[in-house]
Amino acid sequence: MSDLRKIIGLSSVLAVGFMLVILSCALFKNWYPLLIVIPFILAPLPNLLTKKYSTSHDFLQEEDRNLLDFGRFTFGATICTGFALPIVFVNVGLIGTAAATMSCVGGSIIFLVITLYSQAFVQHEEEF
């Protein structure tokens, strides 16, 4: 699969995600659902940062596993926040159920596109 096709597919899926988010806000003239997308966008950050700062460049030296674990903990907490915010908003009565589900689905689509994009162009060595 060529890189161009990957780029086009991922960007179109990302456009669908953003369309869902914007629709969930604009249909009901209520811009609170934009807050739901923030944790989904921030979710890949802790893993990337801790992976960057935990690898040492010395040969045969362990990684800092506590830092990696902290990154994973923060990742789980952020994803859970992304799915918990719409429930809280619906309970409190800020937004309706339809807007909450639409923005939640859109946010998870955006998160999936970000993770897949970070994986799509990694060159794997051939296994023999």
Binding site: E63, D69, C80, A84, N91, Q119
Partner: protein, 170 residues
């Protein structure tokens, strides 16, 4: 996890690094965030004035804060310091200090759980509230139980000795 490691799929899940240890840490993070949001949901519900004669005050927040403090204290202790006879740290006083701090952390966690039950019984059950108000009170208990689950999951996975994987980068 041979299915995820195989090259059947176009995208590999190597960024998530699925092993039992990391799965436990992910689970602990999810439990922590859901505990926070269960209680914040109840607090917001009372702050938006749906519960007219009953509100979540600072008394309800005390067990919540105790549990968070306990989790932070328990999981920030290096567990190799706990036994005084590990070969690198033969200091007995250091191990005693670590054990004392760990005891304080677990006491805070247990005190948070017990305090949530106390607040629920004294403020909601004895006063005779029903329905949604009782749910508001039980959110406190649920969140503290989830905090306990998160702390135990982190503690178990922290004690779990994964195979050390070395960083083979030149």
């Amino acid at each position: 996890m041979t299915l995820l490691d195989s090259s059947i799929f176009r995208f590999r899940l190597s960024s998530l690094h699925v092993s039992s240890r990391s799965l436990g840490v992910y689970f602990a993070g999810i439990m922590f965030a859901s505990a926070v949001w269960v209680f914040v949901d109840a607090a917001l519900y009372s702050a938006f004035d749906y519960a007219r004669n009953l509100h979540i005050t600072f008394i309800d927040w005390i067990p919540f804060l105790c549990s968070i403090l306990g989790i932070v204290i328990v999981n920030s202790i290096d567990k190799s310091r706990l036994s005084g006879d590990s070969f690198a740290y033969t200091d007995e006083s250091l191990a005693r200090k670590a054990r004392f701090i760990l005891f304080i952390g677990f006491a805070l966690l247990a005190g948070g759980l017990g305090g949530s039950f106390t607040v629920f019984i004294l403020k909601y059950v004895v006063a005779g509230y029903e329905g949604k108000s009782l749910l508001m009170g039980s959110a406190n208990i649920i969140s503290n139980i989830l905090f306990m689950i998160s702390a135990t999951a982190l503690w178990i996975t922290g004690n779990m000795n994964d195979d050390y994987h070395y960083n083979l980068q030149l």
